[in-house]
Every structure is written in structure tokens, then in C-alpha cells.
Symmetry: D3
Subunit: 325 residues, 6 copies
């Protein structure tokens, strides 16, 4: 197996297979073209410039291409970069797969599957249980593979499932504290709330919005899936049980301005929205703090109203936490 991209030290020469995560044709002021590239694999990302490029090169080495990279790791302006000796496109017959080159969620897919299934087991209402199982089966392959978004949070392979699982754990604690909560409905809502992203996004690598993602959105996309599942399962599409579940997913963004066609009008819908928000924020803030020096502030976080967060000088819990990205 190849040594991975971040396994090389400064000054060391490297030969490895990587993904071009971003490719932009630029030109220097004295009119020479070059490609500004971002290479990545599951170990992380490094930049490199491909000099004296032409339009042909730009087409060959574009975003999402897997390449064999020969070069040398250098330090430039305090940041690591690759001095490129050569680039070669890797053919489909060489057996590489995009997913190899993408960072993954911090837990194993197998473990996440198992734990989520335990939560499914605790959905006692048969309508919700059957629909959740049906859709997990139908979309499961993508569900455990896709990220939860393009950039703000959980933008890693398996991020969608990881975000869902983390919310289920929160949901458990909250259901324990408040016995008036309908635990089955809350769990079903957690599992389905973002599942529409398997239709809204293109996948874990070089993630983009699909056209139906842009024109319909994951809230309505999963609502439509629930309706069609109900038809296939011979569940009455007018039953209150189904209505409640549809409302859970349609209202989970919590506010009109975030694209919810309805505001949460169930105790469980209100909680679902808040857990969703909380888990996304904890992820994004933690990730930013992990890249920030103690005693200083993060950059403004776009997904958090451009707020900046402070990393205390001494913060044992954070120091010992596992890096997210």
C-alpha cells in the first residue's frame, strides 16, 4: 500500500496516489498559466502548483480526478506544499475508488449501523418502525456513505450517519429526562430528518447540490419518500401516525427562513429541531477550536452567524478530544 499524503515529512520526496479535490487555472502577472491544485486523501489535504499549464492540462487534471503524484513536500510561507515533479491520471482499471481519498467520520460505519439499529428497535409504533426500516433499506447504502453537507458541518464520508447517530444519543438523554416525550417519534424523526440528503447531494466526494436538491430540497424530498413508502407498505397515507412523522421531517429546520414549510408544532418536532442544531453546532465549533491555538479565537464561523469562539489557554477536555477533520 502507498504511504499516505500526510505521512511524508518536510523535504521528503513522495510518490503516491491522491485525489484532486480542487483545480483552478490561474495566470501569473507575466502571463503564464498554472494550475492551483489541492491534493487530498484520507490522511488530509496539501496544496501544490502545476506550472506552465495549458487549457488541455486544466481539462485533464480537473476537480475529482485521481492522479499519481510525484514530487517533494516543502514548506512555503509557513504552510506545507508539494513541489510537483509529475502528475499522471490513474485509469479506472487500476482499481482506485474516489472514496478512498476522502476523510471519514470518526466512527466506523459498521459500529454506527449497529448502534442505529438498536435505536430503530426502540421505535415501538409499528407505522414509524416499518417506514424507518423500509427507507433505511432503500437508501442505506448512500445513507452510511454521504456527508451531512457540503461544508459547514459533518462534511465527511459517513457524516450523515454520524450526525444522525450523535443526535440519537442526545435524544436518548433528553427522553430520559422528560418522560412526556414520545421517544419513538423522536427517534424516527432523528433517523429520517436528513435522509433526503441522499437525493439532495451528489455524494461524499466533491460534494455538490443536485438539481432536485436545489429545486425541491431535502425536507420535501424525504417527505415524498415517506408517502411513497407508505403506499408500498399499505399504510394509510391519511393516518395521524403518518401525519405526525411527515410533520417531523418537514418542520425540522425550525424556522421559515431556513426553509421549513411549517414550524415545529409537536413537542417532539421542537426537540428534534433543537438537537439537530445543537449537534451541528457542537461539531462545527469543536472542529474550529481543534484548529485554533489555545488563548486565541477561531475565525468567524459562517454556519454560526459568523461568531468567533475562544479556546481557553488550558482546556483538558478539548486537548484530549479526537480530531474531527
Amino acid at each position: 500500500m502507498f504511504k499516505r499524503l500526510l505521512d511524508y515529512n518536510n523535504g521528503e520526496e513522495l510518490e503516491t496516489v491522491v485525489l484532486i479535490k480542487n483545480s483552478q487555472l490561474r495566470h501569473t502577472k507575466n502571463d503564464k498559466l498554472y494550475l492551483a491544485l489541492m491534493f487530498g486523501d484520507s490522511s488530509g489535504e496539501i496544496r501544490g502548483n502545476y506550472w506552465d499549464a495549458n487549457n488541455q492540462d486544466a481539462a485533464t487534471f480537473n476537480t475529482g480526478t485521481i492522479v499519481e503524484l510525484n514530487g517533494k513536500r516543502e514548506e512555503y510561507h509557513g504552510r506545507p506544499q508539494i513541489k510537483i515533479y509529475s502528475l499522471r491520471v490513474v485509469g479506472p482499471q487500476e482499481g482506485y475508488d474516489l472514496n478512498q481519498f476522502i476523510k471519514s467520520a470518526p466512527e466506523k460505519i459498521k459500529d454506527m449501523k449497529e448502534e442505529i439499529n438498536k435505536y430503530v428497535f426502540d421505535i415501538l409504533n409499528p407505522t414509524w418502525n416499518r417506514i424507518v426500516q423500509y427507507l433505511l433499506k432503500k437508501w442505506g447504502k448512500r445513507f452510511f456513505d454521504y456527508p451531512a453537507g457540503k461544508s459547514n458541518h459533518h462534511a465527511v464520508r459517513g457524516g450523515l450517519a454520524y450526525h444522525t447517530l450523535s443526535m440519537l444519543r442526545d435524544a436518548k438523554g433528553i427522553s430520559d429526562n422528560y418522560p412526556q416525550v414520545n421517544r419513538s417519534l423522536l427517534y424516527a424523526g432523528c433517523i429520517l430528518h436528513d435522509m433526503g440528503k441522499v437525493l439532495e447531494l451528489t455524494g461524499p466526494a466533491a460534494t455538490q447540490y443536485t438539481t432536485e436538491g436545489n429545486l425541491i430540497g431535502h425536507l420535501v424530498l424525504i417527505d415524498e419518500q415517506i408517502m411513497m413508502a407508505a403506499q408500498n407498505l399499505k399504510i394509510d397515507t391519511e393516518s395521524e401516525d403518518l401525519l405526525l412523522l411527515r410533520h417531523m421531517v418537514l418542520s425540522h429546520h425550525g424556522k421559515y427562513e431556513y426553509g421549513s414549510p411549517k414550524l415545529p408544532a409537536l413537542l417532539e418536532a421542537e426537540i428534534l429541531h433543537r438537537i439537530d442544531d445543537l449537534d451541528a453546532t457542537v461539531y462545527a465549533v469543536t472542529n474550529a477550536l481543534q484548529h485554533t491555538k489555545p488563548g486565541t479565537f477561531t475565525e468567524p464561523l459562517m454556519g454560526e452567524d459568523n461568531k468567533r469562539y475562544y479556546r481557553p489557554k488550558k482546556d483538558e477536555a478539548l486537548d484530549k478530544s479526537k480530531p474531527l477533520e
Copy 2:
């Protein structure tokens, strides 16, 4: 046939069958109960108090009940009211129907049907044409019977169809002016945009929101109907044609804060939203001006950001216009 409610003059005694459009049990300060009633039929509405009522009376003569009313029309405090001699609940076997007592849209249902069908004929795209025909057939009975809302605008029997038709006429003028507009898509959007109200509202009399109206809303309800229609018609649910139509209805409120899960992202969706708004506003403002003295302002209109409109001292077009409600 009975003389209608507004056909009686001041001081005249009356005996007629009317609908109780609103009933509230109140008590005087010296501790007597009475029912404050609003009677109505297709000619309009008048108030009347039923004195010395008890809880039993309140249950008997509640909102939505059809009654035989004996009494006398009087003037009280400048406003007409009925002095009630007696009230009797009319039984189902007497052959009355709620709809008789409700004001209707200013055009005949038969005429509206015919004209709308002409517009359907001009939807040249087969996917949109078939779905529109399918849903018009499935929901047509309600579609030509329901109001377009509880109160703000077109809150009359047949108001939903009337609003739709008026928008189609606007759509025609606009499509003529701008040849770049996809006329078929715009017409299909007009016809379907509010059709979900047949599920969102309870009907033309004593109109309320249904539970699914409150929890799902008419935008998503009609979107689900479109998807199920497509399945039944063997239309590919992933086709771009279907995607465009779904986007039309899902975005027609134009802004997130009005419950659109997506903002208009098609030229035709943008126009649909604006025609919808325009027609509702023209209706509401006209209706208010028709009840306002020349040279003065209307009351603040709730559906129009509480704005007040001025009726010019001399305004021939308005003076000659047919009253809406």
C-alpha cells in the same frame, strides 16, 4: 322559496331559514347569559342576540347550524340587527344544505369550468397536461366549491376556482407580452398552485384549517398529490418536467417567511408567485374599497401589511364595479 335575509327592510318582520355563521355565549354584567349570533345566507349577514340563553341553547344553536329564524329587522346603534322571536333547528330531512347559505364568487361555476378547461387545452407539454387533468378530475368537485382562504381574500364559495381563473387571465396577458415565458408551465402552475387547499381547508362553510392543513400545508400537500398522480400515470417521478412542476407549487409563496420551502428559481415560478400576490391584493383592496365611503380610507387590511387604501372622491371604474362580497 323563502325571501332572503337581506331582502327584508327595517321594521319588517321576517321568517326565513338561515345559517348560524358564528355563535358565542356571553353574559351581561348583571349575570345573565345570552347568545351573540351572526346569521347569514347567500344575500349576506346580520347580527342578532338570543337573550336568557343557557348552556343547552349554546350547544343547540352553535356555529354552523341551519335554523328557522322568526324575528324583526331593527336598527341598533346605526347597524341592522334582528330582534329574535324564535329559533328552531332545521332537521336534515328538510332538505337544506350548508352551501345554500354561503356567498358565492361573482362568476358562475359552469362558466369558470369552461374557461379553465380552455387554458388546460393550451398546456402543450403532455406531462403537465395529464397531471393537471388527472388532479382536476380527482379534486374537481371540491376545487370548484372551496374558498381560497378563511378570510383575507376570495373567502367565498367557488373562491378557489375564481382566484385560479383570474390568475390565468393575468398569466395570458403576461405570456403575450413576454415571449420567453413557457406558457404551458405557467398555466399548469396557476391551476395547481392552490389546489392543496382542498385538503388544507374544511370547505366553504364555516371554513377552518384541517389538521393536515396545519401540520403539512397546501404547498406540500399538492406536491405529494402530484407525485402520486405521476406514479399512477406511469410518469417518471425523476423527470425534469415533473421536477419543474413540483418546484412551481413548492415555491409559489415566494419567500421563506410565507412558508415556501424553496424560493422561485424559474422565470415562470417567479411570475406565478407575483400573479398570485397581485390577484389576492386586487381582490382584497377592491373588496375593502367597495365598503368604504369616497374620500376616505379603508380600515387597515390585515393581509396587506395593515395598509389603508384611499377611495378617491370620484372613481367611475370602482363605482361601476360588481361587488365582490
Copy 3:
């Protein structure tokens, strides 16, 4: 001991000691004055009118007075009320105490104290631990007696402690899920965040804002207490530990428009704000749902952006839950 107010059945005569929770002098249209009274004790509240009142009576039987009430429970307009035979002010020598007549939080003060102390034990940072202990000691009597607000949520005796404890339980679940969270800081923040209400409010009975509550507010009031505690405990007022704790309480309303002088800029501050919000919402929504018929919506909840919540037709968890107020 007296039978309590809600222990009497309809039609039964009663003689009991109650608190006047609200008293308003009104007049009938034929110019007679009466007092509209709200009686209450720990079992709940009932209205009653004191007829033919004068200004003297209004002064005698004003809000916050403890009285002996003779009368009869009746049903009026579907709601229970007391027909008053006589009212007598109870003197201070008779040994009654305002607090007897106020509804209490659903858990016992003794139990809450014990459980909160366990959380204090888990605050491992000595600065935070000492300040929390110091202030719990200084304000503990009020802390376990006061409500968490005038009306929106936890407006019961002991409500402040109950809200705090419920948040600590949420905090525990969340700290377990996210190991990067500084548990000590989060617990300390939970315990202190609303403690300034012991200065902002007048107490559990007939709760009002104090002048310093209105002009300074509980966020800054507790911040000042923390600074003075630090001085007395010889803790460096400039230390980062103290700074973090001050930031927790000053930012816990989460947004400027809710009176936070700073937005949360610590992961733990962000979480504190969200737990606070969540617990208040769960309480308010649950309380409203418990007073709502299955299959219908609550009234608009003022503290929740005037949203209305739906109580499902069948909802076992809610049905079995302990009534909050």
C-alpha cells in the same frame, strides 16, 4: 388542616384559607363596583366575584392578601367559580405564610438540593467549585424558593431550582455524548446562570420585577455577585478561570435581542444557552399540552414566538406525564 381549594366539588360549600392572587376593581355597566378576584392555594386557582365592593374593599382585599373564604363552588359558563358568602383578612398572628398558597415545582426541595449537590461535587475546577458553593450558600434560601420567572415557564415555587436541576440532567447527557465538553464549566454555568433572579424578582408569591431587576437584569446582577465572591474568597479577579465563568452567565441568553451583552464564545457557553432554551420550551409546551384536548392545538404560546402546538389524539407518554401546573 383545611381542605384545599380544588378539593371541593361543584355545588359544595367551602370554608378555607386562600391567597388572593389577583384583585381588580371593576364596575358593571349600571354603575356598580365589584372585585374580580382570583383565589389560589397549593392545589390551584379559581375565580370569584365580590359584589357591591367599594374602594375600601379594594384596598382590603388586594393582590397578595391571605383571606378566609366562605362560599360555594359553582359552574359558570363552563368554568368553575366561587360564589362568595364572606371574606375575612387573616392576621399575621394566625400563622399562615404566603408560600403555603403557591403551587410548587413537581419535585421536593430536599431532593433537588441533594441532587444539585452531587453535580457541584463534579465541578473539579477549584475556582468554579468554590464560587458555586459560596453563592449557593449565600443565596440558597431564595434559590430553592423562587420561581424561574413571572409567567412563561417554571413560574412556581422552587421553579428556579427545578429548572436548574433539569438543565443539569440535560448537561450530563450532552457531556457524556461529547467528550470535548468541559463538564465542570458547563455544570457551574447551569447552576449560576439564572441565580441573579433572586435579586431580579420579588419572590415566589405575586412575583414582580424589582427595580434593580428592571434596570440591571439578572445576567449582570449575578456577574457582580461572582466578582464580589471572588474578592471575598481571595480569587484573582483577572484569572482566566474567572473570566470564563463570567462569560458563561453574561452570554447565556444567546442573542443580543434577549439582553445578552455578549454572544456565547465558548463551546460550553453555546451549549448552556441551548440547554436553557430547550428546558424552558419543553416545560412551557408540556404545560400547555397538558391543558389541551387531544386532537387539538394549544393557544399561541407567548414565550414561544406565539406558536401553537398540537396534542396528538393518542399520546401515551404525555397522557401519563405528571402535571406541571
Copy 4:
């Protein structure tokens, strides 16, 4: 006559007279100055760099200068550009006029004049008719020459008249649909609403805001013109007819935040505002879509709340439509 700028093919040498639509002095990283120029004539625009420039060149070849351009059309980085051989300022005696080099509205001025005059003929109220005719005469030359704005929409020669005419066509369709509309007032409002732009803007070429445009704005500028016209025409400045017309122009931006000193308070004012908005949006969206590949989204449109619009993969109406800019 010269071949026009966009009539040359890639690789072809050219010699033509063009307008410098934008000129910026920039410097390369190795400290050489050059002028980044945008050339344009009525056929469109192309960029070109003038190397080794100095401050003198920047002053000579600045924005708004007409020049004789010798060079060669090339492709650079996928976009056409001109490799400049020489530039020469064209003197006033050579008979060129700025307006030759500006794109024009898609209809002929003569045709637009004629059609607008027909609408004037339908303004039956003599006060409005005389004022419209007076101001069309006074400002007509500019009115048929100016754009409707600097950039967002109708930013072409004759754009102001074109926008006005397109609105009149919409107004006709709407007046036909709603007989309660005062057609004369609506037409007069359409014609005058933006006429203040002849004072607010500097003209069709290199359009800027005038100082009075910035400090007073076109709504109030045309209102002042109406008042002065009335004086000259001996029309009572206090008459209701004049008041209504002044209100039409002063309220046509529809909302305070867009600089309307009053909100629309006439049915016709409400419609005027909406037609104005509709026509501007249809223009801007169409223009953007015409520059967008089928199956993709436009860039965010600044004048449309930064929304992006989708061009369907197959869209006959749009495909066949005449390009706007």
C-alpha cells in the same frame, strides 16, 4: 462603415472605432503598469490590456473615451480578448458620438414612441393627460435615450422607454381583467413613474448618478416636475386629480426600504408598483438565463435578492427569445 467589434473572428486582425467602457491602471507583480480596458460598441464588449502604460496613458485612455483600436482578436483562458497593437483617441471633429457605441433596447425608438402615444391617447382624464403630454414633450429627448438604470435591468440605450412601454402592455392586460381599475390613472402612472431618471442619471453612456440623483432621487424629482408642470398649465396644485398622480409616482417603489416616502394607498398605486417590479425582474432574469447554459443555474442576481435561477435543459420559449443584452 467600420466592421463592429464582435464581427471579427478569433485570430483576425481588426481596425475599428470603439468606446472605452472601463479603464483601470493596474501593475504587475514585477512592478510594471498596464491598463485593463473594456472596449465596447453596439455589438457588445471585449477586454484588452494595454501594456507598459504610464499615468499619462491612464489619463488619455480613460473611461468614456472613443478610440481607434488596432489589434487582433485572441482567445485567452477561454474568453475572447484583444491583443492591442495601437490605440488613438478619436477627435470630436471626426463625427463620432458616444451613443453609437452603446447597446440599445430591442425595439426601435420610433416604434416605441408611437405605441406609447397610443396609450397616452387612452388617458381620458384631462389633468393627467395634459401633464403627461407636457412632460413627455419637455423631457422626451432624454426619455427615449436614457437607460432605466446603471446596471440591474434595462441598462441599455432607450431602456427607460422600453421598460415603460413593457409596463404599459402589462397594465393593459391587467386593466382588462379587473374592470374596477382606473385605467387612465394607471397608464399615467406607468409613463411618469421613472421619468425622474432623466435627472437622476447622467445618460446612456458610462451611466452614473448625478448629485441631485443621489441627494433627491427620481421619485421626488418627478414629483417636483409634476408640480411645476401644473403651475405652468394653470392646473390647481391642490386638486384631488393632481394629488392622486403625485401619490402614484411617490409610492411606486412600494416599500419604505426602497425609498418610497409613502406606501401605495390606491389600488392603482399598488398595481403600478407590482408591474414595475415584475417587468424589471422578468428583464433581469431573462437576461441572465440567456447567458446561462441549459441545465445549470445563473450566477446570484444582485437585484433579485441574490437568487439564482435555473435554465431548464429544454426550454423552447427561452431558446427562441430575442437576446436582451
Copy 5:
């Protein structure tokens, strides 16, 4: 001369001529009509009910009528009221004038005129000076008679001039502190900024908005007056001096949402807006505090974002201040 309304003590019988400031026909629950009247003269206001009224009485004794009142001052429910013995409409021949019955600004008109003239003398720019003098002459009678508004602040006879003068005094202090301020422009702006209210309002008694007030508004109304004054004075309507003055009045509300068609874009326009706001707020808050008990808060002030203000327990400056209304 008559003793004035507030000169009578409790229990004393009175016979005086007063203005009916508000008249409303109401009915008791046992169906009797009465008029709820508010009497007023320059000493203040007291309520009184006219029992057993009919529609005729309502027409006779309506808002704005001057009447001879016989009755007795009583205390009801802690508030003074008049028990009415008889009411008689005072005829025009009896020589009363509405203005006698209206509260006036706390300074004498003659003094205000004189002081304002001194400020006019300090407007050194001849364009501004001549226009200010011209308009003061044209509208002076109303200017020193009208209030500055219907209710929020300076709603007294002469209130417009008083508000203007108070602003001029502020303007003087500020011009002294900041020598970069163009004192002449600021003074001219102060004097003219609200002068359009002589057209926007109906006058000092029973103040209402005129139709042109509602449809055009005082900012544009005074702008039009300035333009017409310039024409009559042969001042160039395009001169920068005139432009600056027009901008001052058009922008003085400071924000679009308050109906300014332009935002302040001159240092002096910015200051004018702030002085205007400051003086209105000081007036409204002072007036409210003067009617509030020490140690308590005012009611929410509508014109001040519904804020409530605290009157300190001991506040010598306020205690000694002259009552405003």
C-alpha cells in the same frame, strides 16, 4: 371670564364652557345608550358620561363641539369625573373659539417668534435665508398655531414652533462644539424640517391627517413649497444651495422606514435628524415622567419603541420642571 375646568374641586358644582374632545356612543349591557365624553379646556381634561342618550344626542354632542356644561365634579374609581346635569351647544355668535380650549406650548408665541427670528438672522447664506423668510411669512400664521403631531409629542397648540425652537437651541450648542458644522444650513433645516405639517395636519384642535398628509406627507410637501418659493424668488432651482436645503428636509426622518426618501448624506442632515429625534424623545419622556409616581415606571411609550422609563425616587430637576401637558 369662566373658571376653568380643572379649577373646580371635588364635590363642587360647576358651570363652564368647554370643548368636547372626544365623544363615543356606547350602550350598557341592559341595552341603554349613553355618551362617553371627554371635556377639555386650556386647563386640562376630565371625563363624564351623558346617560340615556340617543342617536340625536350623539350627533349634537360630537367630537369638536363647544358646549356649556353644568354638573358636579366627583371622584369615581380614584379618577375625577363630571356628573352631568345639562349640556348646551354654544352657538358661533357667542364668540368662542376652538383654540381657547386647547392646551398650549409652555412658551408664549410672541417670545418664540422673536427668538426664532434671531436664529433666522444667523442664516448667512442668502438663498437659505430668503427661502426661510418667504415660507415663514407664507405659513407663519399656521406655523405658530399648529401642533407638531397628533399625539406622540408636542401635540399642543404652538407645539410645532416650540419643537422647532427647542431644536434650534440644541443646534446652537452643537454648532458651538463642532466648528466644522455649517451653522446656516443647520438652522435653515431646523426651521423648515417640519413646516410641511401645516399642510399635513388639520390644525391644533381635534388634529387629524389631511388627505394630502396621508398621500404625500410633510417631507415632500415642504420640498414642493421650497421649489415653488425658489421659482417665485427667482432662485435657480438647480443650484447646489437649493439642492442641499431640499436634501435636509427630505432626509430628516433619518431612515427609510420612517418615510425618508433619502438617508442623510450631509453632516448637517445627519445632525438635523438626530436633534429632531432627541427633542421629540426628551419631550415625550419628560411628559410621561411628569405623570408618573417617583420610584415607579411609566407606561410603555408608543413613540419610543414601547419602552418604559423610571422616575427616580428623588429627582430634583424633574420635580421642579414645568409641566408640559
Copy 6:
């Protein structure tokens, strides 16, 4: 003494000691590093590039370093710059001080001290007088040295005191105009309102926010100082006098969104907020206008809602005003 930075003419060689106000390591397109430097002393600022730099140079010549600069003043692209011959870090033993190189407020510290003391003398209430004196003594050194902000306004040495003094002068004029104002409270509020900035900012040179500035903010920081001062002076921390003063500083930002934990609820707090705003705006607008050509607009001012201000073609007062920065 050295000639100062702006004392050299174009083309002249220079040798002087200056502060590096900003240092950024950049690289040219052909991969060479250079330092883009901003030099400054009390005479103003000029840019210069240090070519062929390395990381070591970047560390040596970073922001805030005092250096001896040899070079030549040149004109580049219309703007002055320094061609650098050599740079040498000046050692601490050479006796330079950061403050020498910073622009100062336009009045002398000694004069400002004296004048502020006169205002202190007019604070007649002993509680406020003693606290003001105590804190002026404790923080006076910084108070007369610090700027009032990082950038928007009064960002000069002594700017905090200058802003305070200018507000006191406004406060005097306003107190003279409105006798109901508690002058002592207003003066005390002016002096203390921004004094927390001595803790919030790092000082006059290369001003940054401190961590406690970011996490607590100057409003609460000075509130804490007032409380601790009261303790040390044996002033009752619960007294109304103290409460009023605390409210003044805590509410002076006037709106929640600017970080006031409470809105102004005293007449004097309302005025304090407005004077603060007024003085900051006059400073920022004047400063921008002084750098703008007559007849043109300033750049959008960030601290003034991005508004642009117009400098009239002829504006004597501004022309003669002393430059602020």
C-alpha cells in the same frame, strides 16, 4: 530630533525612526517573497515594500516594531511610498517609545484633563462625584492615553478622553436647554460610559481587543469597577444612586443589538446614548469628509451603516476645520 515621516518631499532621501504599523509577508507571482510594510509616526503614514524578504525578516520586522528607516520618498501609481535602502530594529535602550509614533487627539491632554475636572466639579451628588473621582484616579493614566476604539472613530492617542470631553460639552448645551435633566447624573454617565475601554483595549498603539474585552465587554467591565469602587468607598451597593449610575453605563449602547444588556430607562440614559452616538458620528463623518474632494461623496462608512456623505462644492466651515486624523 529626527525630521518626521511626512516632512520629507518626493524624491528626497530620508533617515528617520518610525513604527511599523502593519507588516505582511507576501509573494510575487514569480515566487519571490517581500514584506508589505506600513510605516508611521505622529505625522502620519506611508507604505513601503521590503524586497527579497524571508521568514526571518518577517519575524524581525513585524507589526509594532520600532525601526530606523533609510530610504527615499517616491511617487508610485499616484500614491507616495518609500523605496527602502535599509531597516534596522531600534533597541529598547535607545529610548524610543511606541507612543511617540502614534497620532494624537487634536487637543492637549493637559487641557482636556483640566476641562474634564471642571465638569467633575459640577457633579453635585456625592455618590456619583466620589465614584467618578475614584475611578478617574485609578484609571486616569490609561484614560487620557487610550483611543476610543480600534478604527471607526477617535482611534487616536487620547481619543477616549477627547470623545468624553466632546460629549460633556454637548451634555452641557442639552442640560441648559432642558432644565428637567439631572445634570450631575448625565455628566457622571459621560465620564464613565466608555472608561471600561481601558480594560477592553490593549492601548493606543496597534490597538487590539483584550480577551476580557472580547468575553465581557467594556459596559460590564466598568459596571464591575463601579461596584468594587463603591465597596472600597463604603457606599451602599444597593442604594438607588448607585443603581442609577450602573444603569447609565450598562444601557449606553441604546439597543440590544449593540450589546446593551438593558435599554435606556432614564431620561438621562436616553440622552447619554444619543450624545455618544452623535459625537461618534460627527467625528467619523468629519474625518471622512476631510479626506474627500469637494463636490464628491465619501466612501461608504462602515460605522455609519455604510452610508456615503457628500462634501458640498463650497463649504467654508469644513474647509477651515482642523484635520482630525
